[in-house]
């Protein structure tokens, strides 16, 4: 169907000899009805072809060859700062976290003694325990007891996703239950976490700053942590998050609320 909007395409085909006889008739009819367009046939000059300016050449073809050298595309100019940040993060891993990666930090270790400061979450606790007391307490505290551990199967079934009352043994220990097998607790700015399966009184993993963060769809362990224990935990967290979404969200909210502005930090022992 030839219209005022597309007749020029037909004119071009006609001039180049590519119009079928049927379309040719249609075009003739169209031009009879719209004689004002007929002149355009004369205005078209096939001979006016443009020829490329061969003087324009891209001299630096080597730069496109990717010989171990990479050209910065336009977008990369803006991502270079992100790369620097990533490098710094990577560097901080090696600097701060690796020393702990192969060693289980025990409660008795100097590191634990130096860093474990009590954070009181339970409202009924108003007095801050002395540091020695805390360590003593932690030693003596019946963390999920060995009996509990022996009765807890290694593979936690879905029916166990809500914490049972007798699983929460340590009333006064600041902690957040993410599930019946994942526990998060906070010691000063250090947030510690463990899986009850692995949790023994002499085995605490401490990692500075945020443990778990979440984007729209997924939950992750903080990228600031990297050691084999965290890798184990990461798998376990990700397996469980969906099943314990509410408690996870609560824990996350708690962590986010407290991580930057820790209301307990004023209680730091002198």
């Amino acid at each position: 169907m030839i219209t005022k909007d597309n007749y020029q395409a037909y004119l071009l085909d006609f001039l180049e000899g590519n119009l079928s006889s049927e379309n040719k008739r249609e075009l003739e009819l169209f031009l009879e009805k719209n004689p004002q367009f007929a002149d355009e046939l004369k205005a078209y000059d096939e001979s006016l072809f443009l020829s490329p300016d061969l003087g324009i050449k891209f001299e630096d073809k080597e730069s496109l060859m990717h010989k171990k050298r990479f050209i910065f595309p336009i977008w990369a100019k803006y991502s270079s700062s992100a790369a620097v940040i990533l490098l710094l993060i990577g560097f901080s891993f090696t600097l701060f976290l690796n020393p702990y990666s192969e060693t289980n930090i025990t409660i008795d270790s100097p590191i634990a003694q130096n860093t474990s400061k009590p954070i009181i979450i339970e409202e009924n606790i108003t007095e801050e325990p002395q540091q020695e007391n805390l360590i003593e307490k932690m030693k003596n505290t019946s963390f999920p007891s060995k009996e509990a551990q022996t009765t807890t199967p290694k593979v936690v079934s879905q029916t166990q996703t809500e914490p049972k009352a007798n699983d929460i043994i340590i009333e006064k220990e600041p902690r957040i239950i993410l599930s019946n097998s994942l526990v998060v607790y906070e010691v000063d700015n250090l947030i510690s976490y463990t899986v009850e399966d692995d949790w023994k009184a002499d085995k605490v993993y401490e990692v500075d700053n945020l443990i778990v963060y979440k984007d729209n769809t997924n939950s992750y362990l903080s990228p600031y942590m990297k050691n084999k224990h965290v890798a184990n935990l990461a798998n376990k967290i990700e397996d469980r998050v969906d099943k314990t979404q509410d408690s996870f969200n609560n824990a996350l909210a708690y962590i986010q609320e407290n991580i930057n502005n820790n209301p307990f930090s004023k209680n730091k022992p002198k």
Binding site: Y44, S51, D53, I56
Partner: protein
């Protein structure tokens, strides 16, 4: 496409793409940036690009990178086609045609450059520019009529 074929693409098509980009953007630096960006994209996607279709891929990528370029977007299509500069300074038809080319609306310019510089078929031009084939023909027709117009008006002056 293999790395070897990628290099053939650079050797064979970089100049042509640069000419196409320079004519469209009227700016050598922008054209080079877009060219480099285009070849980075080709390098990253080379496994998925058929060597036989690489030239079209390069022109398509270059064109779409260009129309997202800020400087190119800042250019306005000239509303009046002719009679603003001293045409007597041009000595031959080629210069006149180049001047006329600069006065075409962007899409007509891109279309006719692919047709005349690269000899692409209308259908291929349509694919590269994301237009219909009919639209390509209309643009080419209008562009050539305008070029003829422009030269005709010079003839009258000279």
């Amino acid at each position: 496409m293999t790395e070897k074929e990628y290099k053939l693409c650079v050797d064979n098509f970089a100049d042509a793409v640069l000419r196409f980009l320079v004519k469209n953007t009227k700016d050598m630096d922008s054209a080079k940036d877009i060219l480099q960006d285009t070849f980075v994209k080709l390098w990253e996607k080379k496994e998925g690009v058929d060597f036989l279709k690489a030239k079209s891929y390069i022109f398509t990528t270059a064109y779409h990178t260009m129309i997202n370029d800020i400087k190119y977007n800042a250019q306005k299509d000239s509303l009046t086609f002719s009679q603003t500069t001293d045409k007597n300074k041009y000595s031959d038809l080629k210069d006149v045609l180049n001047e006329a080319l600069d006065r075409l609306p962007k899409v007509q310019k891109a279309t006719i450059l692919l047709r005349d510089y690269e000899g692409y078929a209308y259908k291929e031009i349509a694919e590269i520019l994301s237009l219909t084939e009919e639209n390509v023909k209309i643009n080419i027709f209008r562009a050539r009529v305008k070029l003829k117009d422009y030269i005709g008006s010079i003839d009258r002056i000279i």
